[in-house]
């Protein structure tokens, strides 16, 4: 077997393969970050859009290759994440699976353990959030639990870095001697226990390695579609018939299997856990009286959003302007002074193309950091999930439900993760609608353009104009959702089940790691595209010469001039707009190149304010905010919907909206006398 030889290979190199499993909201990523530090490698699971994180722990001669499995409540075939997790365990046969559990809601967390012990994989239980459990008066005895479960149990407070060394020791011990631990297995409650025994006899020996006959039997009885398909290929027709008949007769067995797992859990924790008196109102419930209240919760959410925007403009925007004028403009003047003898086009390429593009990347940082810090803070306190609950009613009005709120919220950072995050929505039609609407959420690329351009034109009114434009986008989103949900996406029901974790004090380290990871990923993806576009645009305005007005880009822009005239755009703004298709923030980079001369003298923002009328500027921002999704988002939409229909539909709708909106705003502005 390939899996076995791989395992032997790992042993020779003295490296153990550790899978990190756990339900959502148990602090699994905190533990993963503590163990692997900077050795993390982030990618995707093969053929899936689910993030795969892997890292190495190496200390005192112990080497653990740690794979972070997706957070899952169980190991069914009903969600991509659960299938990834179980396929990894079955096919890669990790030397040990570390299950992270929340000590404060241990029973529900042990459901995943009940599934894992049936897979007969060496386990270690990491009992995290012992402090939270303690604060909620839940007392857990790790030693007693360990004795009952028959697998090592390690108490942890990952946010305070407590228990990590013990966890590594336990994982290494189990990896070395996997046979030393034999947990008792859950049984199936009620009459279905006998049915399972018959299934085992019928199917058991037909399951080829690495599948375990007992596990396959349980999954068949659960009605697991994936395992049923596999079993059909393992058995010939004559042997499948009795299995099929048995399963059809007992299609309600899942309830008894689940009940059997909870009976098992009950036996495991009976002596190990002491819970609070009944009727005690926890802090979480007290906070939720406001935060999860239909009215107060909504006001709180709006307030939280307002504060984030206010901080963005109060802190990020000025820093951005400063970086632009004091740092970027200065650095860009440097090549012409340092290399006066170089050909002008080489200096131009360095100064306007490369340094200009690099400067744009640099000026993103403030907005990104503010956004991801806010998101990380909401996430880490447990508030972010509540927003889905609170927004459920509002989302219903526009044909979505609460689960669509989180993906859309992520859209403020970047539309790509927003599209990917729609995977949490089970119903296909609801997911499609959310994907279709996601590009209307103004991403940080567009917010960057907004934060950069608005102050140059509108001074103290910049915040108001910006809020107006963001509101316009959200209004367009609501209207489009309302219309589409009543026409294209009727007749559907979406299951809404959402865990609201306990509130806890945010951990600066976790948030910092979250911000770092996301900002780096964003810059890594965006910077190459921005640099490339910046250089291409520079070449487009430089060649064939002699001046910008006769360049290739100017000619292309003049060809589009009739459309531009409706919105008060000259060819420069049109070109900037078109370049934003590659990445929204490119609009600034492009303008930077097009206004390079004046920009190098007074900073780009001031140069823009000199040359463009306020009405054109608002029209430009309006179109920018509503414009066709960027290439990366289109690619993500294509990948997630597996068709070109949705990305093209989305692009077409947004193009009409954007050009219509821009024309309307410009003409209104002209009428008000701000057109020149």
């Amino acid at each position: 077997m390939a899996a076995t030889s791989g395992r032997r290979g790992r042993r020779r190199s003295g490296e153990w393969l550790v899978a990190l499993a756990g339900q959502p909201n148990v602090g699994k990523s905190t533990i993963f970050n503590l163990l692997t530090g900077l050795s993390q490698h982030v990618g995707n699971w093969p053929g899936k859009t689910v993030e795969r994180r892997e890292g190495l722990f190496a200390q005192n001669g112990i080497r653990l290759r740690i794979v972070d499995l997706p957070g899952t409540y169980a190991l069914t075939a009903h969600s991509v994440q659960e299938r990834i997790a179980r396929d990894f365990i079955i096919h890669e046969r990790p030397d040990v699976v570390v299950v992270v559990a929340d000590a404060a809601s241990l029973e529900r967390n042990l459901y995943l353990v009940a599934e894992l012990v049936t897979l007969r994989v060496p386990l270690v239980l990491a009992l995290n959030m012992m402090d939270v459990a303690h604060a909620h008066d839940v007392q857990v005895e790790p030693r007693v639990l360990e004795a009952a479960l028959g697998v090592p149990v390690v108490p942890l407070v990952a946010t305070r870095n407590e228990g990590i060394a013990e966890l590594v020791a336990a994982a290494t011990r189990v990896a070395r001697e996997p046979a030393g631990f034999r947990p008792p297995l859950p049984e199936v409650a009620g009459p279905h226990g006998a049915v399972l025994a018959r299934l085992r006899a019928l199917v058991g020996q037909h399951a080829p390695p690495p599948y375990d006959g007992d596990w396959v039997s349980v999954k068949l009885l659960e009605g697991d579609p994936d395992v049923i398909e596999k079993a059909k290929t393992w058995l010939d027709d004559a042997s499948w018939q009795p299995v099929h008949a048995l399963l059809a007769q007992h299609d309600d067995a899942l309830l008894d299997i689940a009940a059997g797992r909870y009976d098992w859990i009950g036996r495991m924790v009976r002596a190990a856990i002491r819970r609070p008196r009944l009727g005690q109102v926890s802090l979480t419930d007290r906070i939720d009286r406001v935060a999860a209240h239909p009215l107060w919760g909504l006001l709180l959410l709006l307030g939280a959003f307002a504060i984030v925007f206010w901080i963005t403009f109060l802190v990020a925007s000025p820093v951005q302007q400063w970086l632009d004028t004091a740092v970027v403009a200065r650095v860009r003047r440097w090549p012409s002074a340092a290399f006066p003898l170089w050909p002008p086009w080489v200096v131009g390429l360095i100064s306007d193309g490369l340094l200009g593009g690099g400067g744009i990347v640099l000026t993103f940082l403030p907005v990104l950091i503010v956004f991801f810090t806010a998101l990380g803070l909401f996430e880490d306190t447990g508030y972010l999930v509540r927003t889905g609950f609170v927004m459920d009613g509002c989302m219903h009005l526009i044909g979505l439900h609460g689960k669509s709120f989180l993906p859309l919220c992520l859209g403020f950072g970047c539309n790509v993760p927003a599209v990917l995050a729609t995977r949490v929505i089970e119903a296909p039609s609801g997911r499609m609608l959310t994907i279709l609407l996601a590009p209307l959420v103004p991403c940080s690329g567009r917010l960057t353009v907004l934060a950069f351009v608005a102050p140059a034109f509108f001074g103290e009114w910049a915040l108001l104009v910006s809020c107006g434009l963001v509101a316009m986008n959200l209004l367009a989103l609501a209207l489009l959702g309302t219309v589409l949900s009543r026409t294209m996406f009727r007749e559907r029901h979406m299951a809404f089940i959402l865990e609201l974790p306990l509130y806890h004090v945010p951990n600066p380290r976790t948030i910092a790691a979250f911000v770092w990871r996301n900002v780096v990923a964003f810059l890594r993806n965006a910077s190459s595209v921005i640099l490339l576009v910046s250089v291409v645009v520079w070449a487009g305005v430089t060649f064939p010469g002699p001046d910008v007005g006769s360049s290739y880009l100017a000619r292309a822009g003049q060809w589009l001039a009739p459309v531009g005239a409706l919105m008060g755009f000259d060819w420069r703004l049109l070109v900037a707009l078109v370049s934003s298709f590659v990445a929204k923030e490119n609009a600034i980079a492009t303008l930077g190149v097009l206004y390079a001369e004046r920009g190098a003298e007074v900073g780009l923002a001031a140069a823009l304010a000199e040359r463009i009328s306020p009405a054109s500027a608002v029209a430009f921002l309006t179109v920018m905010m509503l414009f066709v999704p960027c290439v990366a988002t289109v690619a993500a939409m294509h990948q997630e919907t597996r068709s070109w229909r949705w990305p093209l539909l989305s692009a077409a709708v947004l193009l009409v909206l954007a050009l219509g909106g821009g024309t309307l705003v410009y003409q209104a502005g002209r009428w008000l006398g701000t057109g020149s």
């Binding site: 409540y73 404060a104 659960e222 299609d251 309830l255 009940a259 909870y262 419930d285 459920d392 865990e499």
Partner: protein, 92 residues
């Protein structure tokens, strides 16, 4: 406790406690509810139920938001007298 009655969870009074008796949804829904701790015999407490919009329930130390459609598929045994079931937790 007086005689109990079987009701769908979406009709349970806010603040009341009940025992889950059965689940009536399809296999996908049942397996998800089970993984979240909702199986027959599980004690469940309704924290929020306003007659419209999602419910907030407490089951196995976990707070869950449940859509009304999902709550309708959970049959619970509720004590007949729910106005003051010895519960200090009030409806919000």
């Amino acid at each position: 406790m007086s005689a109990a009655r079987l009701i769908a969870l979406d009709r349970a009074t806010p603040g009341s406690r009940a025992i889950v008796r059965t689940l009536t949804g399809g296999i996908g829904l049942v397996s998800r509810l089970a993984a979240m701790g909702i199986v027959s015999g599980a004690p469940i407490q309704v924290l929020q139920n306003r007659g419209r919009g999602p419910l907030l329930v407490l089951v196995r130390d976990t707070r869950l938001a449940l859509g009304r459609g999902e709550a309708r598929r959970i049959v619970v045994e509720a004590p007949r007298d729910t106005s003051n079931g010895g519960d200090v937790r009030q409806a919000w």
